[in-house]
């Protein structure tokens, strides 16, 4: 395990994040695991309400006040980040080794600050450099993400949606982290802009040797970046696979049905939908959480399924236990 962790950038095991609400505890993230190597991208696929965004927050420890339970293992480059206190974490991890492009980032830019200053700010805060130097670094990042350098002096409202999204990505990259978590980076953008952003991300992965955790519900476009795929359902990871095998033939019944629901432009295959709704995360069912909608369920599914290893693919399903 120790040997393996040397080549692993991010190792997540049994990550749990529950929220307190007046109705009880919401198990937004409940047993998430995956590994990510250097210069790799893992896609976390899931439908809305499955806990994807909470996972992003749990990885970066950006926790709201109503946390009921937060635990598990998060190793970044072999260091146990869960053992750090908040100040150590802020100084050594967040935005230094690992940063975030939050959901709807393009609309979260400060309207009264120049975008260049906003991109430069993490450099000044985390690396203590002067503003002039930070702006030079910001200009470099602008070139990497494909924003003209003279846009440094513009305000957010002067930029189109795609440009603003690129600025948000530049802001996450400016401190040269090893890992960037992208939460739905293209969901509000047009097709051409979307494809453009993915071109940028692919290029960044090569040029800056950065890894990505891409959190999305869009299966088709997620394949643009994926080296590995983790499928999330009702707070849990149900399948972790490599992209080639996943997009050719996923294993978990939920992954299969999810893939079958994707309308394809180039294949004549009528998409099918999944009947029913995901369970509430307030009181998720015992046993397999997908059992209620699963066409292949059998008696065993009322017990918590183990994680089976099928030629390196991890599947949380009774069908694959021998």
């Amino acid at each position: 395990m120790a040997e393996q962790q040397k080549n692993t950038l991010l190792h997540i095991e049994d990550l749990v994040l529950h929220f307190k609400t007046t109705k009880g505890s919401v198990q937004a993230v409940d047993g998430v695991f995956f590994d990510l190597g250097y210069k790799e991208a893992v896609v976390v696929l899931g439908e809305s309400g499955c806990g994807k965004s909470s996972l992003a927050k749990a990885i970066l420890r950006l926790l709201p006040r109503n946390v009921a339970q937060y635990g598990g293992k998060v190793f970044l480059e072999g260091t146990d980040t869960m053992a750090m206190d908040e100040e150590q974490y802020r100084q050594n991890v967040r935005w230094v080794r690992m940063s975030l492009v939050p959901q709807a980032a393009m609309n979260s830019l400060n309207p009264v600050l120049k975008v260049g200053d906003q991109v430069a700010e993490p450099m000044m805060v985390h690396h203590g450099v002067k503003k002039e130097e930070a702006l030079i670094q910001a200009a470099k990042m602008f070139q990497h993400v494909g924003v003209p350098v003279d846009f440094l002096d513009r305000y957010a409202f002067e930029l189109s949606g795609g440009m603003r999204q690129r600025v948000a990505i530049a802001m996450a990259l400016v401190t040269a982290p090893a890992l960037v978590v992208l939460d739905e980076p293209t969901s509000a953008l047009d097709v051409l802009t979307q494809a453009n952003i993915f071109n940028v991300l692919k290029r960044l992965k090569k040029e800056l040797e950065v890894s990505f955790v891409l959190i999305t519900h869009d299966i088709a476009t997620s394949s643009e970046l994926a080296d590995r795929v983790a499928v999330m359902y009702a707070g849990q990871i149900v399948e972790v696979s490599d992209a080639h095998r996943f997009f050719a033939e996923p294993l978990h019944p939920y992954s299969r049905m999810l893939m079958a629901s994707v309308p394809r432009l180039r294949a004549n295959q009528e998409p099918e939908f999944i009947t029913g709704q995901p369970p509430s995360l307030l009181n998720p069912p015992k046993g397999c959480r997908f059992a209620g909608r699963c066409p292949k369920r059998f008696a065993k599914c009322s017990e918590e399924p183990p994680i089976a290893n099928v030629d390196g693919i991890q599947v949380k399903c009774w069908l694959y236990t021998s």
Partner: protein, 328 residues
């Protein structure tokens, strides 16, 4: 659906919708030419898709069809009557004959009304005075959109429903007056992948059952294929390509349509291995659109002295109409 001579339900004739720009509330400062010369016919029971990026004028076109914008020039003709000549009573009847499915279901439903009240509203406005009759029709339409058991939903409020269920309520409201035409503006863009297909199949089922004409407005080419007969591709206020859906998907003619198709991914791990070829730049300003073909500054196949000079008209190319000089 084989008869080519189907009657025309809605005819859009050289429609221009321009919005005046004023500087500081005074003085004229040009026009935003949101829709600039759009012409097409829609037949009874036909499904068409209008595909384009945000800002291409598809919403302005839709609002004009719904009678919410006045055309600057040109006509919207519904069952042989020009809608701009309609006044109060005609307009009410016209609006009863077209249903509207909004993009954001939660935003489209009044949060303080329960489902029964929301669905009754169009009936009340259109003079169905008998409460029992109203309830009968509300129940019937809820069965149609598969919001069943009906009694579970009747008294719920929109926030108690999931996104897919909210969109069903919006669809139910759109069809409760038995319209001839339904305009669906990105009806599934806010929904999850699996629910998306469910809602599109529901709409298609209703369309076939009642021979509804549907205008499906979207930016997602991959759903168009399973949901419409003809596709119109819009760019910067113009329709650049009109074609039957299969012909468009297998053989796109206009360089902009090709670009849209190239940018649309299918789930395939090989996508990660290559960059996508995309036209440079962004859609032009609609205040001062480029001369000639509006796509020419971004077009990989532009021809100097032709594309930047003359505006292409609809040119026939096989069973397509394409506004592109390449096909002359």
């Amino acid at each position: 659906m084989t008869d080519k001579q189907r009657d025309v339900l809605l005819s859009i004739q050289d429609l221009h919708v321009w919005f005046e720009l004023r500087r500081f509330g005074l003085g004229h400062a040009g026009y935003v030419k949101a829709v600039d010369g759009v012409t097409f016919d829609l037949h009874y029971g036909e499904t068409i898709a209008i595909v384009g990026e945000s800002g291409c004028g598809k919403s302005s076109l839709m609002k004009t069809i719904l009678g919410l914008n006045k055309p600057t020039k040109g006509k919207v003709v519904f069952e042989d009557k020009d809608i701009s000549a309609f006044h109060a009573e005609d307009l009410r009847q016209y609006r009863a004959a077209i249903g509207y499915v909004q993009q954001d279901p939660f935003g489209a439903l009044a949060p303080f009304m329960n489902i029964q009240r929301i669905l009754e509203e169009p009936l009340i406005i259109n003079g169905v005075k008998d409460a029992a009759e109203r309830e009968r029709r509300v129940r019937k339409v809820m069965e149609e959109v598969k919001l069943s058991p009906v009694d579970d939903f009747l008294h719920k409020f929109p926030h108690m429903l999931s996104g897919g269920q909210q969109q069903r309520v919006v669809i139910a409201r759109a069809i409760i007056l038995e319209p001839k035409l339904v305009v669906a503006d990105e009806p599934v863009s806010m929904l999850d992948a699996s629910v998306r297909v469910e809602i599109l199949k529901l709409l298609r089922g209703l369309q076939e059952k009642y021979r509804l004409a549907v205008i499906y407005i979207t930016h997602d080419l991959s759903t168009v294929r399973y949901f419409s007969e003809r596709v119109f591709v819009m760019y910067a206020g113009n329709i650049v390509e009109k074609a039957p859906v299969n012909s468009l998907v297998h053989n796109p003619k206009h360089p902009y349509t090709s670009a849209l198709m190239d940018a649309t991914s299918d789930p395939d791990a090989d996508n990660a291995l290559q960059y996508r070829e995309l036209p440079p730049g962004e859609p032009p300003s609609l205040v001062n659109p480029p001369s000639g073909c509006r796509f020419h500054p971004r077009c990989p196949r532009r021809m100097e002295n032709i594309c930047d000079v003359d505006e292409p008209q609809d040119l026939p190319a096989d069973d397509h109409l394409v506004a592109c000089w390449l096909y002359k």
